[in-house]
Every structure is written in structure tokens, then in C-alpha cells.
């Protein structure tokens, strides 16, 4: 009996020893990390280039532009530029879009959580890449290491720029050894300074190449892209350096200092300096406004930073045309449609819609009135022509005569008839940063300095064949609306001009909004739940 037990135990032990060695996993369709960073090229590809896969996206909240319910929507549907009206059973979505338009968001809104998680995901991946570059630095020359690190830091700084703009008081996590207890918020001005310092530190090491051209630096964060970001940071410095945005005071741009190329400059001067660097680099306005958004817009002299699009190669999607056009409009071009996004009434009126004097960019930016596809009228099921009605749009169209057809619809990007996935996989690169914006930024900085920026300002108008205008706050905002429609800048512009919290279009602000607390989004509730160090932004506690 006892002998048998011994025998069993021996057998068991023997079995265990024999079998344990067979339990190691040897993945074949994945690689252990060390095998992915075995040469200088692979180290670059898999720790630096890999990060560019996250600039665009194909899921809700992922990607800086092109996708839905993310950064772009938060910057667009909260403004006087665009509206996603409720159309009967369509587009109510639990009040999400109405909430964005009315500034009645809460910290539980999924787009805020998704955006926070997306932006920080890329930041943490950047930190992991920096760590990896150090670990495998023996594969690289000193120059290579510096250059690669600079590129990753620049990408990380760009993502912090978006966090700064949306959430203001965010934790700065700059390496991948940080544990949860050390993840603590910084003030908005600290985050602002961090982003500026990072970009200034790495800018000289970045490739002095154009990023939008197909070639060695296509889609990469090159030196001009960093200049563009610095230009934006300087122009918005009064907002970003303001640690308490509900007290009615903010620092003056003339007293916010930047050191550029060793020289101390105020915010407006810094903005002008970076704008001048971009001009000197060779960026210029294209003769045709529309060509920047053509199916093949890779050779634009104006585009600075784009999301490369190619239906065969990249998973990045551009959902906005699909989301906007009417169903029958979709059928007419052989694609599906969601009949959603429209321009606001105030936006189309800014172009002079309905007057004899309509801005030429109106026809580029919108589908409006009777719709023609390939020269033919598009008909509704009932045999009547499809007519988009720009001035009939309102927040809730349910039950109205033009429930399904109210609103001017998004155009701007040339329709790629070879596109897949209902046009979402188009060939047109998505334009993130563009030189026309730089020209307007410089004109604004000059204006804010009390200098004359109108000549510069009018170069943008002239390109579109529009007569000159006097440069003032209103004409500048109007020009930025028309020139940059559908490019995701409006929220920032309205905040900079202190208009975001006021009444506009059909929107009446809520009583508490006068404190300007809605100019910063709430820290997502999920982030607060998981990290006790974090506190909520003003007005949302």
C-alpha cells in the first residue's frame, strides 16, 4: 500500500519534470520584443515609424481626424461651424450631438473618454519607444539616436498639444517607468511650457523636409510640422498660459515670453517668427483652394501635415463625407450615406449665402440647393429633386418639412469614385495643417501687435478671387471660418476670441457658462475613477 503511494509520487514527479519544459510558448505569428529591434532600420521602423499608424484611425475616437466621436468632433460640433441635427429617428444618439452643440456635455460622455484614452495611448507608446531606443542604442550612431529620439518627442509633444487644448490640466508623463501614484496633473501653463520646450528642444534635430510630399518623409513629423505647432502654441498662448480660466482674467500675449533662436520674443512675435520660417521654407498658397483637397493632393505646395490615405495600404478612414450626404446622394455615386452633418445657418450666412455675393469657397465647401451628380439632378424616392436647404437647419428637425434635406452638406474633399467602404477609404490625404492657416495666423499676430496684417490677410482672399477686406477681429474670424471650414479649428478660434461661451447661431448659453468653464472639457469620469490623484476641472465638479 505505502509502496504504491511512493510509486505514484515518483511517477508524478517524473511526469512534471518531463512536461514543464514543453510548456514554453514559441510564438510564430508574433515576435518577442527583442527580435523586433535587431537592426538600426528595424529599431527605427518598430519604435518610431510605428507611431505614425496612430495619427489617423478607423475606429470611433481613434485618430486626430477622419474618424467620428473623437478630437475632430469635439472641436467642430461644439461651434458655430457645423451641426449634427436630429432628423426624426436619425442622429439623436442619446442627445450626444445636441449636447455638444449646446455645451451640455458631462464627464461621462464616451467621446471624451475615448479621446483622452486615445491621446494618452500614443503618448505612452512614445514613452515606450524612447525607452526602447535607449535599450537598443548600441545599434545606432549618436546622431541617429538623437534624431530618432527627437522625432518621438515631437510626436509626443503634438499629442500633449491636443490634450492641452481640450483638457488643459493634464498629467505630464514623460517616461515609461512612471507608476500610477506619480501620475499627477500639472497646471495648464505648465503643460503649455512643457509642450513648447519639448518642441523647441527637438526642432533642430528633426528632418528639414516637407511631410506632405510622397517621399522619404511622407507623413512624418518633420521640422516644418513642429514650427506649425509652435506657431499655434504662440498664437493661443493667452489661453494656454491661463491657469484659471474662470476668473475673467488672462495673461497678455505681449507679456508671455518665448525664446526663439536665442532671442526673447512675446507670443505674437514668436507666432510671426515661426510663420516666417514656414514661408522661408517654401510653403505657399496653391492657385486653387480646392486642389489642396483633391483626390491626389500629395503635391500641394500648401499642405504641411497630412494623414496619408491609400485604400490599398492604410487603414485610416475619412468618414465625414459619408456622414454628411443624403442617402440618395450616396446612391447616386454608388456609396452609402448617413445624412447627418450640416453647416450651421450662421456659417452659410457668413459666406453670403442667399445674397448676390457668395464667397467662391462656398461652392467648394458645400453641397447646397439642388444636387447634381455628373451633371444630372439627383432625385428622391418620390420623384422630386434632392434639394439641400441650408437655412432650414435647426438642432432638432424631427417632424419638420425638411427633416431629411435641411442643411448645406460637407464637400471640400473631391469625391474619389474609386474609394472603398462607402468613400471612407479615399485616396485624398486628410489635411491636418495647412499654410493658409499660417498666413491667417501671422495676420492675426500682426493685428494683435497693433501692426498692419491686412495685406497678408487679403492674399488668402485673393487666392479665392474674393475682394479685399479690412482686417479686424470679425473679418478675421469670418475668414478663418470660410477658409478653414471642416478642418477642425473652430473651437480653438472661438475660445481665443472669447466667443465660445457666448450665444451664436441658434445657441443660447446656459447660465453658468459665462464663467467660461466650458472652454475646457471635463476630465473623463473614468480617468478620475481610476486615478485618485486627478481632480476635475472647474465647473464640472
Amino acid at each position: 500500500m505505502s509502496l504504491m503511494n511512493y510509486k505514484h509520487i515518483t511517477l508524478s514527479l517524473l511526469g512534471t519534470l518531463l512536461l514543464t519544459s514543453c510548456l514554453d510558448e514559441n510564438p510564430r505569428d508574433q515576435l518577442p520584443q527583442e527580435e523586433a529591434y535587431d537592426t538600426a532600420k528595424n529599431l527605427y521602423l518598430n519604435s518610431v515609424a510605428t507611431l505614425y499608424n496612430y495619427i489617423g484611425g478607423n475606429a470611433d475616437g481613434q485618430g486626430l481626424q477622419g474618424t467620428v466621436r473623437g478630437v475632430y468632433d469635439l472641436n467642430t460640433f461644439t461651434t458655430d461651424e457645423a451641426i449634427l441635427p436630429t432628423r426624426g429617428g436619425d442622429w439623436y444618439d442619446g442627445g450626444l450631438w445636441q449636447g455638444l452643440y449646446l455645451h451640455q456635455w458631462t464627464d461621462e460622455d464616451a467621446p471624451l473618454k475615448d479621446t483622452w484614452n486615445y491621446l494618452y495611448k500614443v503618448i505612452v507608446l512614445c514613452n515606450q519607444s524612447l525607452n526602447r531606443l535607449n535599450t537598443y542604442s548600441s545599434l545606432l550612431t549618436v546622431a541617429q539616436l538623437e534624431q530618432y529620439q527627437a522625432e518621438v518627442r515631437a510626436i509626443r509633444a503634438m499629442y500633449y498639444y491636443y490634450l492641452l487644448d481640450l483638457f488643459a490640466r493634464v498629467p505630464i508623463v514623460d517616461n515609461d517607468r512612471v507608476s500610477l501614484k506619480d501620475v499627477k496633473q500639472s497646471s495648464r501653463s505648465q503643460v503649455f511650457r512643457f509642450v513648447v520646450n519639448e518642441l523647441q528642444a527637438v526642432e533642430p534635430l528633426l528632418m528639414p523636409e516637407r511631410s506632405n510630399l510622397e517621399g522619404a518623409c511622407y507623413g512624418r513629423l518633420t521640422r516644418p510640422v513642429a514650427w506649425f505647432l509652435l506657431c499655434k502654441l504662440a498664437l493661443n498662448a493667452e489661453v494656454y498660459a491661463d491657469d484659471n480660466w474662470t476668473d475673467g482674467n488672462c495673461p497678455q500675449g505681449t507679456s508671455i515670453t518665448f525664446t526663439v533662436d536665442g532671442k526673447p520674443l512675446n507670443a505674437w512675435q514668436a507666432c510671426i517668427t515661426y510663420a516666417d520660417k514656414l514661408s522661408a521654407f517654401g510653403y505657399q498658397l496653391e492657385d486653387s483652394y480646392a486642389s489642396n483637397f483633391a483626390v491626389h493632393n500629395e503635391n500641394s505646395a500648401e499642405n504641411i501635415f497630412t494623414i496619408p490615405m491609400d485604400k490599398m495600404l492604410y487603414a485610416n478612414q475619412f468618414c465625414y463625407l459619408f456622414r454628411s450626404r443624403h442617402y440618395n446622394h450616396g446612391s447616386a455615386i454608388g456609396m452609402d450615406a448617413e445624412n447627418g452633418t450640416s453647416a450651421t445657418c450662421s456659417a452659410v450666412l457668413t459666406y453670403g449665402y442667399g445674397t448676390g455675393n457668395v464667397d467662391s469657397r462656398y461652392a467648394v465647401n458645400f453641397y447646397s440647393d439642388t444636387l447634381f451628380v455628373d451633371g444630372n439632378v439627383v432625385y428622391l424616392d418620390n420623384g422630386e429633386p434632392l434639394v439641400y436647404r441650408p437655412l432650414e437647419v435647426q438642432l432638432d428637425l424631427t417632424g419638420t418639412t425638411y427633416e431629411k434635406t435641411a442643411g448645406a452638406r460637407m464637400a471640400k474633399y473631391e469625391i474619389d469614385r474609386t474609394a472603398h467602404a462607402d468613400g471612407k477609404l479615399q485616396e485624398n490625404d486628410i489635411v491636418l495643417f495647412r499654410y493658409a492657416d499660417v498666413v491667417l495666423m501671422k495676420a492675426e499676430a500682426l493685428m494683435r501687435l497693433g501692426e498692419d496684417g491686412s495685406a497678408l490677410f487679403n492674399t488668402v482672399r485673393q487666392r479665392s478671387g474674393m475682394p479685399e477686406r479690412e482686417l479686424n477681429e470679425q473679418t478675421l474670424l469670418d475668414e478663418r471660418l470660410m477658409e478653414l471650414q471642416w478642418e477642425g479649428w473652430r473651437r480653438q478660434d472661438l475660445i481665443r476670441f472669447d466667443r465660445f461661451h457666448r450665444a451664436y447661431d441658434q445657441r443660447t448659453p446656459s447660465s453658468g457658462e459665462s464663467s467660461r468653464y466650458t472652454t475646457v472639457f471635463p476630465i473623463p469620469g473614468s480617468a478620475l475613477d481610476l486615478n485618485n490623484n486627478l481632480t476635475q476641472n472647474w465647473g464640472y465638479e
Binding site: K7, E25, G89, A216, L530
Partner: protein
């Protein structure tokens, strides 16, 4: 003859111990409670409860796959294939409910000792199955260690017998007719309602009942031939079968061809027994690409459009109805599958001196599945073809050494086992878009112009599992039995530091009736009490269902293409947070039970209570970003409990030479509770929200927020309805109605977001399930009626909520009685939450055992059956038999995806020579 009838009869009971009181079992009852595979050599080492479903107990109606045969026959076993969703949910089997949040809830399937899965089991021809053994308690499942946490279904197939040559044919044929379908507005109602409401509508000029256009009369045929023979030294059995099923939905069909061969040989003066089995099947399935979309497209389609293409060769639909397609165009979507299975096993048993038995067992299974898909340009811009091939190979080998000895009043059994298992899974797939013609389908991929990156790929993984096990059983005086079982499992998928899990169990049994004081008691002496047995067990088992290969490794894989040096280049990246500390999810179960027999076992009763707790529950927990890159981390943290009470009752009120009536009832009460989903894990606080939506409404005119219905909520059973409360219908100024919603928290505003004005309105899983079988025999005729029921749960009638909403009319068609009610609201409230109780008459079979006509025919049986006779329920939708068991996004929600209700009528013949 009479006695022969008795034993299976008693076994018919849900019973945990199946041979109570039968004459043969008197001697070694405690040693004969089950036929657990590993310990087969010893006849059984398990002391606990094994529910054995023998051939007599299997379902007799029209059975279209072997899982059908099991439905309703065992307490605590829910085969979702019993309802209308039998095609859609073929593989949904739950033993005592859901025990894990992330996976591994399917019971382990062991076919003749070979570890397998539900899909393979469903391909076996029911007539080839000798019995199902259902292992529910940890004391029994612990033998299977990590794989047994969700219960085990052991399948024993028929083998040859020594004796003369036998050949038999089994077959049946039948058809299926729909008796209940969606009643939407017809052309007349559609047009007059739109006119009345002053709405513009499209009139295609036809009158088509679209829900009907996608259906047909179904047809089923099954044929099976088996022959066997043998001597004292060797025997064989071979069988071949064919099953063919064209369902009531056009284009949906499947057929299955099966061949099976088993050989047994004794050698060297019975020193060695060799068993060899080979089983192969070839299965063809034509599925509906998206049956949900097909059903709601058919229901919502404008009834004035033609039953087919329009005159210009297109497919009409309201273009504003963006969520649907023309249902008839959808029928052209192809979703085809071809599955080939090959399984073989060999067992060598050495009967050594000193009562030792040494057994070597090895098996190999190969499965190849080909998926072919084509979406025509009518329903998918530019068309799309997809082809995939998946191959799995499983190897399993084990060595066991057993010993048993009876000496006086002592009986001892010992067993040691060592096992190694390896699975290789690999496959590839490709997606092609850009078709100018639909005529090639998926057969010539060159007809498509583009192959996007990401649409083509392949994978390979090879997880391994190693185990050692020791078991001991001791029986004293044939009355007291104690079994101890210890198993250690090591898996390659678990984190390096936690690779091995230890899964012990202990169980005891007391055969009270054999006590002399019991024998002397009044009840025993006058024959009232004929058997009484008490038993209990406790054990732990593991679950790895939530883990995939490489989950614990820091590995990288392709994450996209970027431009590098001007040319598109693939980069590698990390796509999830790695967790090197992953470990086993464990489940411990305690069970206490009793078996009783009265009046010579004319009344048999078994009862069992169990409590189980799942710990270190694998789940994708929310973690803080930053410092993590991704918002979810697969980790072991939370816990969940399941408890229940199972009762089986077998009554034989009439038992004479010519006549016999048996009534069997099994009743199962289940209660699940999600205890915890947060805490500190390696110093990192992690959580899953207290309230997480599992399923909601979508499709056909229903889109928009706050449409979540079923939730997992801490402290509640998995799958509760968490809804706003509707106080009634409220009339709008225009005469239409909307759902009035209560301000539950009385804060002055109605907020129907999670955490707002919502309350827990009931649970989605039944509290009680019932299986009942009544059989009556008169001479050579017999009648069997099977009834299954479920009680104590609710069903969300999302179908009615959607199709009663006049706000989506006339874009989407509505139910025939919707205009009268004129509700113009689609807010999900408890208004459409209904009682889910039902009793379904699963089948009625009438059989005739024809008196033997010639000396060559040993038996002939003719039978006819009606399956799904009818349902008694207060539920207002198509059928209450929706998914009420499997935790997924369809749990408890009838959301426009129910198959029309149909009956099957069939004739069967069994003949043996």
C-alpha cells in the same frame, strides 16, 4: 423483458446516480456510479454524481444534431438549440449557468476519451451515441483539471459486441412549416396609414409580404446504417450516416456525412486490450450572412415593392431606410462553410499481475474549416469576397496506472495519470473588393480589383497543456465511500510564474439503505423505502477560457503600413497591455445530495444542492491611461458565485405486462451573483465599472443612445434589465403617444443615462428550468411527450418597441396594430419588458414496435413525430425561446432576430437484422 425495461427507465430520471436499486448493481453500487474515461479501467473511481443520459433517455423527436438529443434531459444543462434559434445558436450549451466572464463557459466535451468541442459533437450522428455523461460537480470535473470548470460532457459512442453479426438502418424524413411570423402592415394598411397621417410615401405598386418571401417549407432527412460483429477476442462496429436539413429560411441549409469505425482486440491471453476508433465527418453549411439584418430588413421593407427585382434590374427599398437592404437582395449574400473532421484514438490496456492495470492512450484530431463569403454589389458597394481556411490539429497522450483490491469489507482503488496535450491552430484569410460582376461569387478572386492591406493575413499558435493526477478511493462495508482526487495542470498560455495550477477534490458517499438499522426500519421492511443514498463533495477546477495564446508575453506584431524612405513599409507594434502575471481562474464547488427510491423504485427522487465560487476571475479590467497605454488589462481579480438546487423525479404509476406509464421531471433552480470586479492587483488599482452594458437594441429604424437594455451589475446576477420606468403612455399634442418616464430619483429631471433614472427590473436568465418527459406504452405502441420550460426571467421585447414606433413610419414598415396605438417614441423603457415564462411542448412521438415478421429481422420500429408542437406563454413576441442562457449581447433581448415559429413533422424507421 420487463426487467430490461426497468433499468433504463429509472435511468431516464435526471438522477445523479442512475442505477439505484437495480438488481445488477446491488453488489458494487458504490463502484459503479460512472464511467469516467480516465478511470475506465477501474470501472469508476468517482463517488459523486454523474448524470448519465443513455440512449433511452435521449430525445426521440426529430433530432437534427446530437446536441438536440440531450436537450431538456439533464437538470442544469441548457441546450439553447431547443428553441427557434436552433440554427443560430447551435453550440450554446451551459452546464449550471455561466461561471466565467471572459470565456470558457462551454462545457468540455470528451468523446471516447478524446478531448473535443461542441462543434465536433454536433457532427456525430445521434444513433452512434451510447450515452452522455454529464459531470457537474467539482469532485467529478476535477479529474479534468483546468478544462473542467464549466462542466464536462463525456460522450460514449457505440462499440461492437461479441456475438453475431448485426446490421441496422435508422432513418427519418420530415418537413417544417412556419406557423407564426411577423404581422407587418400590408400594402393596403401601409398606404392608407401614410395617407391618413399625411405622410409622403413611396408606392411601388405591389403587395408583398416580405417576412414570408424569405421563407419556405423546410425539409429534413437523416439516414444511418450500422453493422457490427465480433468474437470473444475481438469485435468491431462500423457506421455511416447522412443528415440533410433545408431550413425554413431560404438559402439556409446544411448537410453532414459521417463515417465511424471502432475495433477492439484482446491479445496475449487477455494481457492486452486494444481499442481503436476512427471517426470522420464532412459538413457543409450554408448560413445567412447576417440573419439579424435579413429579418429586420424583411419586416421593415416597404410592402408596396415587388417580390423580386424591379423592371430595371435593381432592388427597391425606401432610400431613407438607411439601416435595411432589400431582403431579397440580402438572400444573394453567400456565407458558406465546409468543415472536415478526422478523429482517431487508440488505447492499449495491460492487465498486469498484482491487480495492476496500465493504460496508454493516444488521440489525434484534425479539423479543417473553409469559409467562403461573397457580398454582391447590390448590398455592398463594389462587392466583397472573403475566403479563409482554418486548420486545427490536436494531439493528446496519457499514461495511467491503476490498482484495485477488495479484501473483506475493504475496497481500495488507486490511480495515477500523466497527460500531455497540444493544439496547433493555424489559418489564413483574404479579402478582395472591387467587383464589376457578381457572377463569379467567391470562386474567382481575380474578378475583384483590390486586396486592401489588413484584409489578408494568417496566424499560428500552439498552446500546450501538461497534467499529472492522482486519485484514491476507499469503500468500507459497501456503505461508506471516500474519494480523493488531485490534479496539477500546466499551461503554456499562463504567465511563466503561475504556469501550474493545482486542482484537488474530495467526495464522500453513504449508502444509508444498507445500514442494518435502516434495513430493520419500518419503511424499509414494508417496502416503502427501497433506496437511500447521501453524498457530498468539494473540489476546485480551473478555467483558461479567457486567455489566448501569448497573452502573457511581451510580443509585437504588424500594426500597419507607413511610408518609409518613400515606400510603404510594415511596422510592428504592441496592441495591448501585456500581463506576465496571468494565472488560472479557479472555481470551487460544494455539493450535497441525496437519492431516494420508494415502492420498489416506482418513485425515484434525487435532490442536490450546489454552491460554487469563481475566483481570480479573468476579465479585461479598466486601468488608468496613463501610465498604461491601453485602457484594458486582462487580469485575475473578481469573483462570482453560482448556486442552485436540482430535483429529479421519476414516477411509474402504471406498470403491467401490456401497459406502462412513466413520468419524469427534472427541475433546476439557479442563482448567479457577480460579487466583485475591482481591487488591487500588484499594487495597481483596477476596476470594471459597477454597471456595464452587455446588450442593447439596434437596427431597423432603431438607433440612438440610451438603448442599452441588459447589464452586468456588481451584486446582481449576470444579465439584469436596468431600465427607465415607464408609467404609461402619454398623449402628445398631435394625438400620438410617447412613453411617460418616471423621475425615479425625484430630482426634478428625467435622466435616462446609466446611473440616472433607471432601476433593476428583472433578470434575463431563468431562475427555474424544467424538463419533463411523459411516456406511455401499450403493448407494441408507445407515445412520448417532452416538455421544457423556463421560469422567473424576463424578456425585453425590442421587436415590438421598434416595430410599434410610428415615428419610423413610412421609412420603415411597422406592425399591423401599430397605427391604432400610434406610439411615436423609441425610448427603451420597461414598457416592453415582459414575463419570459414558458412551457414548450418540444415533441410528441408515436412509435410502433412492429412484431417481428421474419427470422432475419430482429426488430422494426416505425414512428412519427411532431417537433415544437406549441408553447404556453404570456410573452407577446414571436417566441419566448430566445437566448436566455448565454451571456452575450443578445441575452434576454428579443431584438428582431427571432426565427419565425415552425413545426417539424417527421416519419422514422428503425430496422435491425
Amino acid at each position: 423483458m420487463k426487467k430490461g425495461y426497468r433499468i433504463p427507465l429509472i435511468a431516464t430520471l435526471m438522477g445523479l446516480s442512475c442505477h439505484i436499486g437495480s438488481a445488477q448493481a446491488q453488489v458494487s453500487e458504490l463502484r459503479d456510479t460512472s464511467l469516467v474515461q480516465y478511470v475506465e479501467v477501474q470501472r469508476s473511481i468517482a463517488t459523486g454524481s454523474v448524470d448519465k443520459v443513455t440512449e433511452e433517455r435521449m430525445n426521440k423527436g426529430l433530432v437534427t444534431n446530437s446536441l438536440n438529443a440531450l436537450s431538456g434531459q439533464a437538470a442544469g444543462v441548457n441546450v439553447a438549440s431547443s428553441g427557434e434559434n436552433r440554427m443560430a445558436m447551435l453550440n450554446s450549451v451551459r452546464v449550471r449557468g455561466t461561471t466565467s466572464l471572459t470565456g470558457g463557459n462551454d462545457p468540455l466535451v470528451i468523446i471516447d476519451g478524446v478531448s473535443s468541442d461542441l462543434a465536433t459533437l454536433s457532427t456525430i450522428y445521434p444513433a452512434d451515441i451510447e450515452s452522455f455523461n454529464i459531470l457537474k460537480n467539482a469532485a467529478e470535473t476535477a479529474q479534468y483539471g483546468s478544462r473542467g470548470a464549466s462542466g464536462v460532457i463525456e460522450v460514449v459512442t457505440k462499440k461492437g459486441k461479441s456475438g453475431q453479426f448485426h446490421i441496422s438502418y435508422d432513418g427519418n424524413m420530415g418537413f417544417e412549416r412556419i406557423y407564426k411570423n411577423m404581422q407587418m402592415l400590408s400594402r393596403q394598411g401601409y398606404v392608407s396609414t401614410a395617407r391618413q397621417m399625411g405622410l409622403t410615401y413611396n408606392d411601388g405598386g405591389f403587395d408583398t409580404d416580405f417576412p414570408e418571401t424569405i421563407t419556405r417549407t423546410g425539409f429534413v432527412q437523416n439516414h444511418h446504417v450500422a453493422f457490427s460483429g465480433g468474437t470473444d477476442q475481438s469485435n468491431y462496429r462500423a457506421s455511416i450516416g447522412f443528415m440533410d436539413h433545408n431550413t425554413v429560411i431560404r438559402v439556409q441549409e446544411n448537410d453532414n456525412f459521417i463515417a465511424k469505425l471502432d475495433l477492439a482486440q484482446k491479445a496475449f491471453d487477455d494481457l492486452l486490450n486494444i481499442d481503436l476508433g476512427v471517426f470522420g465527418s464532412s459538413q457543409k453549411n450554408h448560413y445567412i450572412f447576417d440573419d439579424w439584418k435579413l429579418f429586420y430588413s424583411a419586416a421593415s421593407q416597404n410592402p408596396t415593392y415587388p417580390n423580386g427585382m424591379n423592371t430595371s434590374g435593381g432592388w427597391d427599398k425606401n432610400s431613407t431606410a438607411s439601416q435595411i437592404n432589400n431582403p431579397l437582395a440580402l438572400l444573394y449574400e453567400k456565407e458558406h462553410e465546409k468543415a472536415l473532421n478526422f478523429n482517431t484514438h487508440i488505447g492499449l490496456t495491460f492487465n498486469l499481475p498484482y491487480d495492476l492495470r496500465l493504460k496508454f492512450f493516444g488521440s489525434y484530431s484534425f479539423n479543417s474549416t473553409e469559409n467562403d463569403e461573397y457580398l454582391p454589389t447590390w448590398v455592398w458597394a463594389q462587392g466583397q469576397a472573403y475566403r479563409a481556411e482554418k486548420k486545427t490539429e490536436d494531439w493528446l497522450g496519457n499514461v495511467s496506472l491503476g490498482w484495485q483490491r477488495t479484501s473483506g469489507s475493504h475496497h481500495v482503488e488507486l490511480l495515477a495519470l500523466s497527460e500531455y496535450q497540444s493544439n496547433q491552430r493555424k489559418g489564413f484569410y483574404t479579402t478582395v473588393k472591387g467587383f464589376n460582376t457578381n457572377n463569379f461569387g467567391y470562386d474567382n478572386l481575380m474578378a475583384g480589383s483590390t486586396r486592401p492591406y489588413g484584409g489578408t493575413g494568417s496566424y499560428y499558435e500552439k498552446p500546450t497543456l501538461a497534467s499529472v493526477m492522482g486519485s484514491a478511493k476507499y469503500i468500507l462495508l459497501d456503505r461508506y465511500a471516500l474519494t480523493v482526487n488531485a490534479r496539477a495542470d500546466g499551461s503554456s498560455m499562463v504567465g511563466e510564474n503561475n504556469r501550474w495550477g493545482f486542482f484537488p477534490s474530495v467526495s464522500a458517499e453513504w449508502n444509508v439503505i444498507k445500514e442494518s438499522w435502516m434495513q430493520r426500519s419500518q419503511a424499509a421492511r414494508n417496502g416503502v423505502l427501497t433506496s437511500l443514498k447521501l453524498r457530498s463533495g468539494y473540489g476546485t477546477s480551473g478555467n483558461l477560457g479567457g486567455i489566448d495564446s501569448y497573452n502573457s508575453l511581451l510580443s509585437v506584431m504588424p500594426n500597419g503600413v507607413v511610408s518609409y524612405g518613400g515606400s510603404p513599409t510594415v511596422t510592428l507594434g504592441i496592441s495591448r497591455n501585456a500581463n506576465p502575471d496571468l494565472k488560472w481562474e479557479t472555481r470551487s464547488t460544494l455539493n450535497v445530495g441525496a437519492d431516494m427510491g420508494f415502492w420498489k423504485d416506482r418513485l425515484v427522487m434525487t435532490a442536490e444542492y450546489y454552491y460554487s465560487k469563481t475566483r481570480d476571475m479573468l476579465y479585461l479590467y479598466d486601468v488608468s491611461v496613463p501610465p498604461f497605454a491601453y485602457e484594458k488589462l486582462l487580469a485575475n481579480l473578481g469573483s462570482m458565485s453560482n448556486q442552485g438546487f436540482e430535483v429529479g423525479l421519476g414516477i411509474t404509476p402504471i406498470e403491467t405486462k401490456d401497459m406502462q406509464l412513466n413520468i419524469n421531471v427534472n427541475l433546476s433552480l439557479q442563482k448567479n451573483k457577480l460579487i466583485k470586479l475591482s481591487g488591487n492587483y500588484n499594487g495597481q488599482y483596477m476596476t470594471a465599472s459597477d454597471i456595464t452594458a452587455i446588450g442593447g437594441l439596434n437596427g431597423a429604424g432603431f438607433h440612438g443612445g440610451n438603448n442599452n437594455i441588459v447589464y452586468q451589475i456588481i451584486g446582481q446576477p449576470l444579465g439584469v434589465f436596468y431600465l427607465p420606468h415607464c408609467t404609461g403612455l402619454m398623449q402628445n399634442t398631435d394625438g400620438s403617444y410617447r412613453y411617460a418616464i418616471e423621475d425615479i430619483d425625484r430630482n426634478g429631471t428625467v435622466n435616462i443615462e446609466d446611473g440616472g433614472d433607471r432601476y433593476i427590473a428583472g433578470q434575463a436568465t431563468p431562475k427555474t428550468t424544467l424538463g419533463s418527459n411523459i411516456s406511455f406504452r401499450y403493448k407494441a405502441f408507445d407515445v412520448t411527450l417532452q416538455m421544457n420550460g423556463a421560469f422567473g426571467h424576463k424578456i425585453y421585447n425590442g421587436t415590438s418597441l421598434s416595430y410599434m414606433n410610428m415615428a419610423s413610419f413610412p421609412d420603415y414598415n411597422v406592425l399591423a396594430d401599430a397605427p391604432a396605438q400610434n406610439i411615436q417614441d423609441q425610448t427603451a423603457t420597461d414598457y416592453w419588458l415582459e414575463n419570459g415564462n414558458y412551457l414548450n411542448f418540444d415533441y410528441l412521438t408515436v412509435g410502433w414496435n412492429v412484431p417481428v415478421l421474419s427470422r432475419h429481422i430482429s426488430s422494426l420500429r416505425l414512428s412519427c413525430s411532431i417537433n415544437n408542437l406549441g408553447t404556453i406563454t404570456a410573452y407577446s413576441g414571436l417566441t419566448p425561446m430566445i437566448n436566455s442562457y448565454v451571456v452575450s449581447n443578445t441575452l434576454g433581448i428579443d431584438d428582431k432576430r427571432s426565427y419565425p415559429a415552425y413545426r417539424s413533422y417527421s416519419l422514422g424507421v428503425s430496422i435491425s437484422f
